[in-house]
Amino acid sequence: MSKVKKKIKSIKIDLDKCNGCRACEVVCSAFHANPKYSSNNPARSRIRLIRDPIRDVYLPVYAGEYAKAECMGRDKYVIDGKEYGECSFCRASCPSRDAFKEPDSGLPLKCDMCEDLPTGEKPLCVQWCINDALICEEREEEVEEEVKLEDVETGLESMVDKYGLQKIMDTVARMSMSKKG
């Protein structure tokens, strides 16, 4: 099977380096304003700092997919004795919280890695985080070109595995004869 190259952009978030300044929120909301940079408003940002200084919680989270409904159950993580609130690590714009929604319309927001920027430029949140809590990493991965199987084919393949091709062909022939007859 042939191999293809795929670009994967990821942001490495180093919580230990975050000083909690929210410059990422400022510049994100400015970049996505229309016209660009004409206004800023952290409530519109596609990155949000979940910040609770007394408990030393400093957690930048990016806006991900829109979710129509909230989860049936919610998770609380405890890491090194530090408890993170429900949904802290979740990227969804969902009915359970205010984050990642336009403050006026309530429409969902999603991080687009500042796709309007010229190629090679890092997302603005990364550029403005000079403490390097946000590092943009880009890598290319070679992936096998997948041949997507149809549902029937997938099912048949598993039957072939189990009974052998000859038996399946015989069965299909007999079935089609009897249907015709």
Partner: protein, 653 residues
């Protein structure tokens, strides 16, 4: 359309329970910029000079800087203005943090509070919805604790809260307003907030702040960020660590406290301990600091890390910055562990970390001198640390001798009498100063100490090195990339400044040069305080990212006001002069403008008079420190001249 600012103030009358959103005059932005400038204008216009600080007619103004809430790094300062119960003059304490930008996003440039509430309340500003809410359940709660409780009860983790503690509720003259890792501490503004019956102001805002020419503005912001990064990688050589980099003094980052512990005075600003900083002390303090410090943190939209989260076993977590790390420890002749622990209690009580430790040390000195008695200290434990906790508790509750000391060293000494005045030796204009006692008079610092309207040296110094560099090579190296000077002559001043001989203190820098240097230093502070940019990125450190050459572009492109260096310099002068006029109207005169008598061992009365004469003349004031009619006219402040004339303060010459 207003840019950078919202164009609206929130007016709250607590006596009547009235809340109004009032549009402001854009002309005032042109004249005074914002922040401190427009605060001073409101105080001048609306609070007559006869008003007592604890009168319902006194205003308590929370002003945001003009650039707060824009993407300019470090634009996050709240300037709180009122009449000080301690100095009786205008107080303007400032705080960083996240409060000012949040207020901007809620749609307001200032919150102006008048009247008094009969019951303890807090304000909840949630965009257009503003409520005066009962705070009976918060009475006596800590200032840090209160912020948390309010966020919980509002179910709004993103609300930014500024609160007072017990000290503010009890109108202690050194009461602060606390907000996260920041506080507006000096001059007793927390006492005025307590007097008005406000426990806290919580804010949440989700609106936009606009820019006039956004592309240009963002380019300037990017240059500032780039400069900060490069500057941090290249500390200034030949100066102490806390002055080598940017930010407010990096007390949370650095362990090395040789300079402070050996040059600043311990106790009631009395004793220098020249051999204090030994290897053993350094090791112990290092361990204490690294164990206590959970994380280095910043204010809104600023890459610096001037603050820290402090967490020690057996006490609740709090946040600290700057010099309060040392003030309690040094007042009590104790160590850093004690310093961190008592500062936690002090932050919850909400008191100023500069004045309060000195007031306590002053109290114990009076006891040793027999001026205060054992009876005054009945119940006080005998161990050194214990007695400081005990006295702090008395002061914030105004119990017994604490009630006297709660008014600060000046007023306490007046009340105690019996020669106590001599022990209140470290004040300027009734306000406690840094515990610093030096040898040779420095003419630049002499002027700043005497004439600073903030009455706090750290809020007026900066830009120009505090001492000459020993070698010409170092000086030449320093001036090489000194792009910040408003005029090339400042480079020569520094190049010629020697440690000894003819070109050294006190006669060099000369009188005129000293006036020039002070003028530059204070100009930058006045601009910062109007724009809401932190002094730590501008007027305080050496070679900062913001300076007189790039500031006009920020204002032009951000606010849409045509600005150049001359116009900005004039606006700063206008604000500086207006604040002087506010204080002159409240009685400030030349006789009040003097440093603590023992600040320098070697004094030069004749030179000092010449310095003040020249400074006043340069500022366009008369010889008593009162702005002249011509100066006021030049600065579009004719109404001030008229008022001063009517009151007989300024003779119609």
């Amino acid at each position: 359309m207003r840019y950078a600012e919202t164009g609206f103030n929130l007016e709250i009358d607590l006596s009547r329970g009235n809340i109004e959103r009032v549009e402001t005059d854009p002309k005032l932005t042109e004249l005074h910029l914002g922040g401190l400038g427009t605060n001073a204008k409101i105080l001048w216009d609306r609070v007559p000079p006869e008003t007592e600080p604890f009168s319902p007619d006194n205003l308590l103004i929370f002003g945001t800087g003009l650039l707060c809430g824009t993407p300019a790094p470090g634009a996050n300062r709240t300037i709180v203005t009122t009449y000080s119960p301690q100095t009786l003059l205008m107080a303007y304490s400032m705080m960083g943090g996240f409060w000012a930008p949040e207020l901007k996003y809620a749609g307001y440039d200032k919150v102006i509070i008048r009247g008094k509430s009969a019951k303890l309340v807090y304000l909840w500003i949630n965009n257009d919805k503003v409520e005066i809410r009962d705070a009976a359940h918060l009475q006596g709660k800590g200032a840090v604790e209160t912020q948390e409780l309010i966020r919980q009860e509002l179910n709004e983790p993103n609300a930014q809260v500024a609160a007072i503690g017990l000290a503010g509720e009890n109108r202690v003259y050194t009461a602060s307003i606390e907000h996260g890792r920041s506080s507006a501490s000096r001059l007793g503004i927390g006492a005025v907030m307590g007097d008005k019956g406000i426990k806290a102001i919580a804010v949440r805002g989700t609106k936009d702040i606009y820019l006039s020419r956004p592309d240009e503005y963002l380019k300037l912001c990017n240059e500032v960020l780039k400069y900060i990064k490069a500057r941090e990688e290249k500390p200034v050589p030949g100066v102490m660590p806390i002055l080598a980099g940017l930010g407010s003094p990096q007390e949370m980052k650095h362990i090395d406290e040789k300079w402070h512990t050996e040059n600043f005075s311990w106790g009631n600003s009395r004793t220098r301990r020249k051999e204090f900083w030994t290897k053993e002390v350094e090791e112990k303090w290092r361990e204490t600091q690294l164990n206590a410090r959970t994380r280095l943190i910043s204010c809104y939209n600023c890459p610096m890390k001037c603050g820290a989260i402090i967490s020690l076993p057996g006490m609740s977590t709090y946040m600290m910055k700057c010099f309060s790390k040392l003030t309690y420890a040094m007042a009590a002749f104790s160590d850093l562990d004690f310093g961190f622990r008592i500062a936690q209690r002090a932050a919850e009580y909400g008191v100023d970390g500069f004045s309060t430790p000195q007031i306590m040390a002053f109290g114990f000195e009076l006891k040793e001198a027999g001026i205060l008695t054992d009876q005054d200290f009945a119940g006080c434990p005998s161990d050194n640390e214990g007695k400081f906790y005990w006295l702090l508790d008395r002061i914030v509750r105004r119990e017994g001798i604490g009630d006297v000391l709660a008014n600060g060293t000046h007023w306490a000494a007046q009340q105690i009498g019996k020669g106590a005045e001599a022990y209140a030796h470290n004040n300027i204009k009734k306000h406690e100063q840094l515990p610093l006692k030096l040898g040779m008079l420095n003419p630049i610092y002499f002027l700043m100490y005497c004439t600073g309207e903030k009455i706090n040296i750290t809020q007026i110094e900066g830009q120009f090195p505090q001492a000459p560099f020993p070698t010409m090579e170092e000086r030449e190296d320093f001036v090489k990339d000194w792009i910040h000077v408003p005029d090339e002559k400042f480079k020569q001043y520094l190049l010629d400044w020697e440690m000894r001989g003819e070109h050294s203190n006190p006669y060099y820098p000369t009188v005129d040069m000293s006036v020039d240097i002070v003028d530059w230093q204070e100009r930058m502070h006045y601009i910062d305080d109007a724009l809401g940019i932190c002094a730590g990125l501008s007027s305080f450190p050496l070679k900062p990212p913001y300076h007189i050459h790039n500031y006009p572009h920020f204002i032009s492109s951000g606010v849409g006001i045509d600005m150049d260096e001359a116009k900005l310099t004039k606006a700063a002068k206008r604000n500086r002069t207006l604040i002087r006029a506010v204080n002159v109207r409240r009685g400030l005169r030349r006789a009040d403008e003097k440093p603590p008598e023992d600040h320098w061992r070697k004094r030069f009365p004749e030179l000092e008079e010449k310095l003040l004469d020249a400074y006043y003349k340069f500022k366009g004031w008369n010889n008593d420190g009162i702005p002249t009619k011509e100066t006021l006219h030049e600065l579009d402040l004719d109404y001030v001249a008229e008022d001063l004339e009517q009151r007989g303060i300024m003779k119609n010459e």
